[in-house]
Amino acid sequence: MRAYHDLGGTPAGPIDHDEHALQLWEKRIEALLVLLTRKKILRIDENRRGLESLGSEAYFAASYAERRMLSMSNNLIMKGVISVEALAAKIAEIESRVDPLP
């Protein structure tokens, strides 16, 4: 059985050559991964395994940065670094900010 992320040789259309310059928040996701790796909290192999556990629908619907973020937060919850409750509360608090994106 081929896993959905294991794409080599599967049918696909033409390549979109448009260059998408990364936004700051996407670079921050990469920075968080670098820091968590450097501090030995998360291995990049664990984050890859997390990507392969998102399910194909979420994997292909999300952008590259988005799915790496999803895998990271799932891994941090699984490891007990952050709790589901604290994450939900923080997201609600961000939503309540007058100007969440200054």
């Binding site: 992320h5 794409l7 080599g8 390549i15 936004q23 700051l24 990469e30 988005e66 961000i94 939503e95």
Partner: protein
């Protein structure tokens, strides 16, 4: 902490108004994933696992890496046969000797050389492994489903989409970067560049030639 405005404005790529049609999550829209990034980052900072300053410094480090780094390595290899030999034997050490910090990435770098008989091209079918230390973050197409699917099965058709038509006398050698190695292609030095300095050579080396979806053209 919050994402303070000074920090937010300091970084450029998003600031020039580029809007990708498939990326509706503009920098001024609070999507779910942006909230998730903010929330996780702020929680990690509150727990003293990371600091805002560390995040800013790593973002700066990421932004400081670009294909110009790889181009410097290629130009050195073209200019200095001893360096080229060292690069092909142990690319991690050779690039470290030029000041590229490799430890951050915990992977081994490998350089594969294009010759009149062999053209190398790199893909990662399982994820998006890429020599970030020398080329910066990968372009969107490198991470795309289309490139990851097709580069191994029909590399010549993919190269044609990049505008590169190779005769059958040149073997196409694909590298599927599946594990702990990162590949950089050493493109062929174009004719007519014998009198160019190392810095001049570096200026003609393009990113895609180091991924293997292009060659370096002779300067006009």
């Amino acid at each position: 902490m919050s994402h303070d405005p000074a920090d937010h404005h300091g970084h450029g790529d998003h600031a020039h108004g580029h809007r990708h049609p498939n990326q509706p999550d503009h920098d001024d829209t609070l999507t779910y994933y942006r909230k998730l990034e903010m929330a996780v980052r702020e929680l990690l900072i509150e727990k003293n696992i990371i600091s805002a300053d560390e995040v800013r410094k790593v973002v700066e480090n990421i932004e400081s890496r670009s294909p110009e780094g790889g181009a410097r390595v290629v130009a050195r290899a073209w200019s200095d046969p001893q360096f080229k030999q060292a690069l092909l034997e142990d690319a991690t050490a050779a690039c470290a000797s030029m000041g590229f910090e490799m430890a951050l990435y915990d992977v081994q770098l490998t350089v594969v050389e294009n010759t009149p008989d062999v053209h190398n091209m790199v893909v990662c079918t399982l994820c998006s492994c890429y020599p970030r230390m020398l080329l910066g973050l990968p372009p969107a197409w490198y991470k795309s489903r289309a490139y990851r699917s097709r580069a191994v099965r029909e590399p010549r058709a993919v190269l044609r989409e990049f505008g590169l038509e190779l005769p059958d006398t040149v073997s196409v050698r694909v590298h599927d970067s599946t594990a702990d190695l990162r590949y950089l292609v050493l493109p062929m030095r174009p004719e007519g560049t014998e009198d160019m300095s190392e810095a001049e050579l570096a200026a003609i080396v393009n990113r895609d030639s180091m991924i293997g979806t292009a060659v370096v053209a002779a300067p006009k």
